[in-house]
Amino acid sequence: MHAQLTTWWTILRICLEERLVYRGDFALGTLMRFLPIVTQIFLWWAVFQALPAPTHGQAQNIAGYSYQDFVAYYLLTMVTRAFSSMPGLASGIALQVRNGEIKKFLIQPIDMLGFLLLSRIAHKLAYYSVALGPFTLVFALATWGGYFTGWPDATTLAAYAASLVMAFVLGFFLEASIGLIGFWFLEVNSLLFVYMLFSFFLSGHMFPLDMLPEPWRTLVELVPLKYLAYFPAAVFLEKITGPELLRGLMGQAAWLVFFVLFCRVAYQRGVRRYSGFGG
């Protein structure tokens, strides 16, 4: 067990070092993460500006969300996406299958998925330990600006933390599954594009999912994408509470287990049919 932990620590350390090799890329990537959120906030600001003037002293809202709610929601999805987004994971796996780099994981006593998971943890640690400063500043400003109205209670916070950790693991194994399809199809970029498209709309990345009418609402409940952006944000904002919260967390855990098992099976089947491309 100790040997296992030391191995994992070494992998983590080396992946961290690798992240920091290209300093310019690292710096630019860290700072530019905020830009898409700024665009979306301005978009909804414009939408709210175009709404008719409020009547009876009621604040303007769209599907129960005020402008402040939207801003708070986007900032929270930014946090969730920091955990659940896995840029380059699926295409990286497919590329490694295509160009033969995957041989390394077949001949060395190392588990590919475990290695990639540690590598991803390292990448995120590297980026977000540096991004923590700007993130904290933005959230502090948002609280001062009245977009956030204080912290939720300890139970909600614990549920939020659990949903974030699960969002990371679920995001990893979901995208790894797509990458492992590379054993059968070699090129997964189109599949990935379709996945990204659905994810953008159905994960809550674009807008809060409770704004959706039927039948889209039902569809969203049937797929795991909401756990990658919407669900943790909604938990923090206390839009999902009590038994519904518990059901949501269990649903997230169930999807997580499903994709972990899917990855294991796909990997075992995939290597059996692997033809050793790339020389």
Binding site: T7, T10, E18, L106, Y274
Partner: protein, 337 residues
């Protein structure tokens, strides 16, 4: 107890036949043609501990596929194999910790980090004791003369230096079996020689079993006492290097130096005239005719010097390859030494 036992091992691939042209590409969206490529057709092989075996064969013969089967990279279509008692394609960690595979011009090291970081990772993955790791690393990098390059990112090393680092990484865990796939391909003569020297020394010191595929006769001649010739997925020959000539070449090359500074015009009657550079001439003569030819020759002409040699090894092997490509009837699976 043999270290490697292979029986009837076979591997075939289904390869998509891409036709030329746009119309064919469009057709390929709906219907594709496949061809079955039999890379390895059922080979038998036994290797004992401490042997250094070379796999020779033309491109596409099945050498690399055999190595990939024995290292567990791919699953076979048929047959069986055991290396160190393990079935390679079960990829058990206990097996993976005892062998190494190095492929020429292929990287297993981290591209952007110094080699020493990759070595550290190997230490952890293979659970090498820290003291043993440092001693082995220092030994290997000193022998290969790359100790001063440990802190440089791998991407900044030359091809030869990178190959040496790959070899070091592969040998850190002191494997019992080493598979080398064209380790000196693309390297300059000096680098090739250094790696040959290193492998010879290492193999003798550690008594490790090595399977090497190579196109370079110098690698094979310098390192291996046993040669396996594979062509078209079959083993055509399995024995010593010298034995190849005896087995496949029924001819000798006779070089004659004439006494009078001039070469007679009627040499064709004695054999196939290869080269004439007065006062020397070279002829190819059937092995069984050499004695008779020399007797007749020497009695009729004034000769200063005669030498009778085997044809160059490369030539013999090239002929073996060419024969197998031409005639299907040459196949003889599983020939013993």
């Amino acid at each position: 107890m043999p270290i490697i036992e292979v029986q009837g091992l076979a591997k075939s691939y289904r390869v998509y036949q891409k036709q030329e042209g746009l119309a064919a590409s469009l057709r390929g969206l709906f219907r594709r043609q496949y061809r079955e490529v039999q890379a390895v057709r059922g080979i038998d092989l036994t290797v004992d501990a401490g042997e250094f075996v070379a796999f020779l064969g033309p491109n596409g013969a099945g050498k690399t596929t055999t190595l990939k089967l024995l290292s567990g990279v791919i699953n076979p279509s048929g047959g069986s194999a055991r290396v160190l008692g393990f079935v390679p394609w079960e990829r058990q960690n206990a097996y993976r910790r005892r062998f190494a595979l190095v492929m020429g011009q292929k990287n297993q090291l981290w591209w952007d980090l110094p080699a020493q970081e990759s070595f550290r990772l190997h230490q952890q993955i293979y659970r090498i004791d820290p003291d043993i790791f440092e001693r082995t690393r220092d030994e290997l990098t000193t022998l290969l003369e790359v100790r001063h390059l440990l802190k440089q990112p791998v991407r900044e090393l030359s091809l030869g230096e990178r190959m040496k680092m790959e070899l070091t990484a592969a040998l850190l865990h002191s494997p019992d079996v080493l598979f080398l796939d064209e380790p000196t391909i693309g390297l300059d003569v000096v680098a090739q020689h250094n790696i040959q020297k290193f492998l010879k020394q290492y193999q003798q010191q550690r008594n490790v079993s090595i399977l090497l595929t190579s196109h370079y006769m110098k690698d094979v001649a310098a390192l291996c006492n046993r040669v396996v010739i594979i062509t078209q997925g079959w083993i055509k020959y399995d024995g010593s290097l010298g034995g190849i000539v005896d087995r496949f070449s029924g001819q000798k090359v006779v070089t004659v130096q004439f006494a009078n500074d001039s070469v007679p015009q009627d040499l064709e009657q004695y054999g196939q005239l290869l080269e004439v550079q007065p006062p020397k001439a070279r002829l190819r003569v059937a092995r069984r005719d050499v004695g008779r030819m020399l007797a007749g020759f020497l009695s009729r002409h004034a000769v200063e010097d005669v030498s009778v040699e085997d044809p160059p090894l490369e030539e013999v092997i090239a002929e073996v390859f060419a024969q197998s490509e031409g005639g299907a009837g040459d196949r003889s699976p599983g020939d013993g030494p």
